[in-house]
């Protein structure tokens, strides 16, 4: 079952006020010289590290584990500074309710944007360092010696002059009573012993025995199970439903409206609920969007490609003039579709409501956002709500900013006070009510001089803005800067080329289909638009695609370094095996530099085999290389599935694909050999989970052109008669 983080009677919480005060939020952490008592009387100083008398170290992790390995990586960072015995490290999640009570001592819970480690490395290492300092001080106090004469390693403190030793567990209680130091110097990266090592994940065993509890598996005493249908047309509502038709069916307890747009059947079991829901007559008011189709949306976007008004994000020189004056003009229009996350575990949440308390158990990428949804739906204040995070059966962005399933579960539970209600979505509901990868088109125009040098580039985006739909407060004078990920002039998503005349702008064209953050977010399409067009320009200029890029990358040495690394490893410029063709792509995303070289062959003109992808990433620091390799290979599965197989098409205002039969995903037979080059150059912290996803597709598309002479400019490739074999 689910464990709610609690401090055992014999455990002590150690940490540092500096940890909290280091947060961007600037909140004062309510822990000073006095000892704060946990509910069980345990003295607490702060919240990051719990040490039990048997030397077990419990590291509290606010970010969510969804397979990307973040709990292991974050624990490595705490343990690095704590100098504890790694074999005794375990982790647990604090709850958002506890975080609120402690004025957000654990910082941001949000687990998306490849932020897990890169945005919290400093304060979690401080948490470990402060705890170590206090443990050493406690031992020194007990021995009556200066702390400076003591050292700590592998959970043992040694008084160097006398050789006396004591383990962390023995001094934990005394340490917890000490005043935490404000700030402790962190180790120089060259002295790291755990960070940078491929430590084994802490969460593998229960995933191979079937013991791990996901949201779908939760059981609570007296619990009922519900399943739901929301109006299939976004923006529609429920006109009526005939509960009497299904109330007598086996196991059915309730048929209830959920908000204005959904109906749920609550039953003893899921299967009974689903059987009844399938039989329930529901009349929808499909609302104003019932006529919208993929074709009508495409027309709107197409108009934006030439529209006079657009948000300008990256501009230097005069691109239109340079292109007009160019010796050779190259133009291409690309398109990228709606795609669903399709996490293996469909959306779900469990809620129990009474007028005095509302509790939610949910697999979420952001406990605090789930908490906010709980407050809003329950109408209760923060001190009467709690959210218990459950490990996720996949996230990919669907479970971060959006907690529609939490809202639904609470609205159901409010109608059944005191009864835990587990709301499970069917796969069909999950497919019909996603927060989809935004739909986007791009017209890219380039000008080459007589020598084949790129003199001007205009990349016009036309399509959806995620921020407008989700976080409008983050728009900058109406502009959605996220739309330009990978194309910015500088920063975490900086373009890697210097073009004398450059214009990158966005004609925002929003649709009624709700967009969301989908692994990699806007780099998926932007990498195709930019990197496939670079390939087109190189061929138009009669130049090698690598050499063509290199000339534009002199001022972007880190972009160039990863590109060179994949080219060298793949043997770019040397003959490939017979029938095998290569393609390149590079990008900077989420502060990491990434590049790929794909090797493919094409049989019969339409059967594409991706043999190998060499990928390089410079994430600044590589905390756990084995897990980075897995994220790279995994991101390619997600990215290549999207490239070849996945589109959510719209007809009559609703999504047409309802399951994996029409929304396919790559299988092992289609998996290329992925070779990873992890080349951290230090001095910055880049993300891992997302950046590499974007280079697989353009590298494969460019290799496809090399193999066939055919340019494919719209995704997915199944629409072009191509299959991945």
């Amino acid at each position: 079952m689910i464990t709610t983080p609690k401090v055992s009677r014999r455990a002590f919480v150690i940490g540092s006020a500096a940890v909290g005060s280091g947060l961007a939020l600037g909140l004062k952490v309510p822990f000073g010289p006095g000892v704060v008592r946990a509910q069980d009387g345990t003295p607490e100083i702060n919240a990051w590290v719990v040490i039990r008398p048997d030397d077990t170290v419990v590291v509290r992790v606010a970010r969510s584990e969804m397979g990307q390995g973040t709990i292991t990586g974050l624990a490595q960072m705490v343990a690095e500074e704590l100098e504890c015995d790694w074999s005794k490290v375990t982790t647990e999640y604090p709850t958002p309710g506890q975080s609120v009570k402690r004025k957000r001592v654990w910082g941001d819970f949000s687990t998306g944007g490849s932020r897990g480690i890169r945005m919290s490395h400093e304060y979690v290492r401080q948490g470990g360092a402060v705890a170590r300092t206090m443990l050493v001080q406690a031992a020194a106090n007990a021995w009556g010696v200066p702390a400076g004469e003591c050292s700590a390693a592998s959970s043992v403190i040694t008084h160097k002059p006398t050789g006396r030793t004591v383990s962390y567990g023995k001094v934990a209680e005394a340490a917890a009573k000490l005043t935490p130091p404000d700030k402790v110097p962190l180790k120089d990266p060259k002295d790291w012993k755990l960070i940078g090592k491929s430590m084994k994940r802490l969460d593998t065993l229960p995933k191979v025995t079937g013991a791990q509890v996901y949201g779908f598996d939760l059981r609570l005493p007296g619990m009922l199970t519900a399943t739901i249908k929301d109006c299939p047309v976004f923006g529609g509502t429920v006109k009526s439903f005939d509960a009497d038709k299904v109330k007598g069916m086996p196991g059915v307890r309730h048929v209830l409206p959920v908000g204005a747009s959904a109906v749920a059947v609550v039953a003893d079991t899921y299967w009974e609920a689903k059987t009844a829901l399938d039989a329930l007559p529901i009349v929808w008011d499909e609302g104003p969007h019932a006529k919208v189709s993929s074709a009508t949306i495409a027309d709107v976007l197409k108009e934006g490609l030439g529209a006079p008004q657009a948000f300008v994000n990256n501009k230097n020189g005069d691109a239109p003039a340079a292109i007009a004056a160019a010796a050779k003009k190259v133009e291409a229009v690309y398109g990228y579709p709606f795609q669903n996350h399709a996490t293996m575990e469909p959306m779900n949440a469990t809620a129990r409501y009474t007028p005095d308390r509302c509790e939610v158990w949910v697999p979420t990428q952001n406990g605090e956002a789930a908490f906010a949804a709980t407050l809003a739906a329950s109408g209760l204040p923060a001190d009467k709500c709690e959210v218990y995070k459950i490990n996720l059966g996949g996230g990919f962005g669907r479970r971060g900013a959006f907690h529609d399933y939490v809202t639904q579960a609470v609205l159901l539970a409010k109608q059944l006070p005191g009864i835990p209600v587990k709301l499970l979505w069917s796969r069909e509901e999950d497919m019909l009510h996603g927060k989809y990868h935004p739909v986007m088109q791009a017209k890219v125009t380039g000008g080459l001089d007589a020598s084949g040098n790129l003199t001007g580039l205009h990349l016009r985006l036309s399509g959806q803005s995620i921020l407008t739909a989700v976080f409008p407060q983050m728009l900058q004078n109406g502009m959605d800067f996220l739309t330009f990920q990978g194309l910015h002039a500088s920063g975490d998503f900086a373009i890697g080329y210097t073009v004398p005349n450059l214009l990158i702008d966005h004609a925002m064209r929003n649709t009624h289909v709700p967009p969301g953050f989908w692994r990699g977010v806007n780099i998926n399409q932007n990498a195709i638009f930019l990197e496939c067009f670079m390939d087109e320009l190189a061929h138009a200029a009669g130049q090698d695609p690598l050499e063509f890029r290199r000339k534009l990358m002199a001022s972007h040495p880190k972009h160039l370094a990863v590109l060179n690394a994949v080219a060298d490893r793949a043997g770019w410029g040397k003959p490939a095996p017979p029938g095998v063709y290569r393609g390149l792509a590079q990008m900077k995303a989420f502060a990491s530099y990434v590049a790929a070289c794909a090797e493919i062959s094409v049989a019969g003109g339409n059967k594409v085999k991706v043999h190998r992808i060499v990928c390089a990433t410079d994430p600044g620091y590589a905390v756990n290389p084995a897990q980075i390799e897995r994220q790279i290979a995994g991101s390619f599965v997600y990215g290549l599935s999207a490239l070849f197989m996945e589109e959510c098409t719209v007809k009559d205002g609703r999504i047409e694909q309802t399951n994996f039969d029409t929304y396919d995903s790559m299988r092992i037979a289609q998996m290329p050999k992925v070779e990873s080059i992890i080349m951290p150059s230090g001095g910055f912290w880049g993300g891992v989970g997302e950046p590499t996803i974007c280079v697989a597709a353009p590298a494969v598309l460019n290799a496809f052109f090399a193999a066939t002479g055919r340019r494919i400019r719209t995704v997915p490739l199944k629409h072009h008669g191509l299959t991945l074999v």
């Binding site: 969804m66 593998t204 299967w271 991101s635 037979a669």
Partner: protein
Amino acid sequence: MARFTVNGKSVDVKVNPSMPLLWAIREHVGLTGTKYGCGIAACGACTVHLDGAAVRSCVVPVAAAEGRQVTTIEGLAPGGALHKVQQAWLDHEVPQCGYCQAGMIMAVAALLKDKPRPTDQDIDATITNICRCGTFQQVREAIHAAAKA
């Protein structure tokens, strides 16, 4: 209503015979290691063994299990031990989110029973489970390791 054996124990579930075996296992027998992913036998998350053969339990009516032996991830290895496939999964750190892995492991265990030393082609033809995290590179490594174990 159906009587069958799950992981060596006889069970008697009083449900509609058309209920998929998946839901009988999860909601009536109470073993939740077997996962729901699609309900149409497309993804393989629900894979269990029926008389030793891998089946996608989301489309097998519970009536079809009558009198037969069902093995789930919880019963793959007796007495809390790890089956060699599970051990290989642990050694090679295959799972990411883990949700599809029980089905993947059950499919692989059945494959190894049929073909103790499968080739890559055997793996490609037989292991068709979906993994959205994309663990396939480690899955393949671990299958070969388990075959040698």
